[in-house]
Amino acid sequence: MEVPDQPLPAATFDDLALPLFDQLYNFARWLTADTAEAEDLVQETYAKALRGFPSFRAGTNFRAWMYRILRNSFLSTRTGLKTAIDFKEDDPEISLLAESSTPESLLLEQANRQMVQQALDELPVHFREILLLCEVEDMSYQEIAETLSIPAGTVMSRLFRARKALRSLLQQRLGGGRHGV
């Protein structure tokens, strides 16, 4: 589709940005694990997006742009800097061959919402964020790649690792009940 390569009229900022408010807050709260920090982060994101909006080009994915601003702002906060230390680049060559379905995977059915939330909390930020973008925000791999500023191939391998890590955390938590199954 041909999209005019010119700045969008300022009036559309509200129309585009305000509907994302609830999701952005949810994402910010997951990243920061703190209500006050999440609120500051969302405000900072909107302030930056507003300032940067005149240079925003039609045809760019607005949602990915907003999330990228939020995430970059987060990475420059004190909490974000701390989490970035143990951040390692994924190996895009990782084999995506999943291990075959194990009996443990049946246990996942028992995982309740709270358990999944705790497991997500425990995941490293780069795993947590990609799972949230994919499952909660329902973003395509391309949108995730734009948001996280990583190649599309890395999206796939990081998602694979993130899911594996989540499954393993849930299996650990459910491990106690394994003998009863």
């Binding site: 300022a10 009036a11 900022f13 509200d14 129309d15 940005a17 305000l18 408010f21 609830d22 807050y25 949810n26 709260r29 997951w30 999440a38 609120e39 969302v42 405000q43 909107y46 302030a47 507003l50 909006f53 084999s95 995506l96 061959l97 999943a98 075959s100 379905s101 995977s105 049946l106 996942l108 059915e109 995982a111 919402r113 709270q114 999944v116 939330q117 997500l120 799972l131 949230l132 994919c134 499952e135 909660v136 329902d138 395509s140 791999y141 796939m156 998602l159 694979f160 899911r163 989540l166 499954r167």
Partner: protein
């Protein structure tokens, strides 16, 4: 292709990222292979669990208000910058454009609010238990709300009119609990919602009759409370009920 190879593509398939042709072949394989189908099912379950667990946090009303104000700022700034540069006639134009932008945003917000109320109305009627307190006696229904909602309201006696009170339940609008009463008129149900005015202010609803989503609605403010009537009956019936409710107090 062997199952092992397919399983490497399952995540991309379930994420909707596989090429259509390949997805179609994998779909056929899944229908014929119980082991791969079971694996796919577990992955879908994990996806669903994360999607549900991930929707966890809701922003507070204060932050919402701040962000909404924030978004409105640049238009005013733009108007200000222009007004310095151009003659007052242009200022008038800018003000009218800003007003229409504001009005259209208000309209969209109002539309969302009405849709939400219509949803509440439909959801209650579709529920197996449309009312939590089932009584046509206002002296039973009104006290039931005590301690459940942060305000008190008066219910006029409509006996003798063609409107019958069926009961009530607690409803939430703009994250605020309020009263939801259901009246019946000739097999048609009409919802009466009562919310604190402060909560509704954020939704920006003016008084008056509205026709939205095939429902007729009427809203008014009384003693700091915002009243809404929603139903599929004729506008005249909504009007009559609103007059009875207003006059009965």
């Amino acid at each position: 292709m062997a199952c092992e190879a397919w399983r490497g593509k399952l995540d991309a398939y379930l994420d909707g990222e596989l090429e259509p042709a390949e997805a179609a072949v994998l779909g056929v394989h899944l229908r014929g292979c119980a082991a791969c189908a079971a694996d796919a099912l577990h992955r879908v379950q994990l996806k669903r669990s994360v999607a549900s667990a991930g929707r966890r946090y809701e922003p507070g009303a204060a932050l919402r208000a701040k962000i909404a104000l924030h978004g409105a700022k640049p238009q005013r700034q733009i108007g200000w910058q222009w007004s310095v540069l151009v003659v007052p006639a242009a200022l008038v134009l800018i003000v009218s454009v800003a007003t229409s932008l504001y009005m259209s945003r208000e309209n969209a917000r109002r539309q969302r609010a009405y849709s939400e109320l219509a949803d509440l109305h439909v959801a209650a009627l579709a529920s197996a238990t449309p009312v939590d307190v089932l009584s046509s006696d206002r002296h039973t229904v009104k006290p039931w709300f005590q301690g459940k909602i942060p305000f008190a309201f008066d219910l006029p006696d409509l006996q003798g009119s063609e409107f019958a009170l069926l009961g009530g339940r607690v409803a939430y609008f703009a994250q605020t609990p309020g009263a939801h009463l259901i009246y019946q008129l000739r097999k048609h149900e009409i919802s009466l919602f009562i919310f604190p005015g402060a909560a509704v202010e954020t939704a920006g609803l003016p008084s008056g009759a509205v026709h939205a989503l095939s429902f007729n609605m009427e809203t008014w403010t009384q003693d700091g409370l915002q009243y809404f009537l929603v139903g599929d009956v004729a506008p005249g019936d909504i009007k009559t009920l609103s007059q009875l409710l207003r006059a009965g107090r």
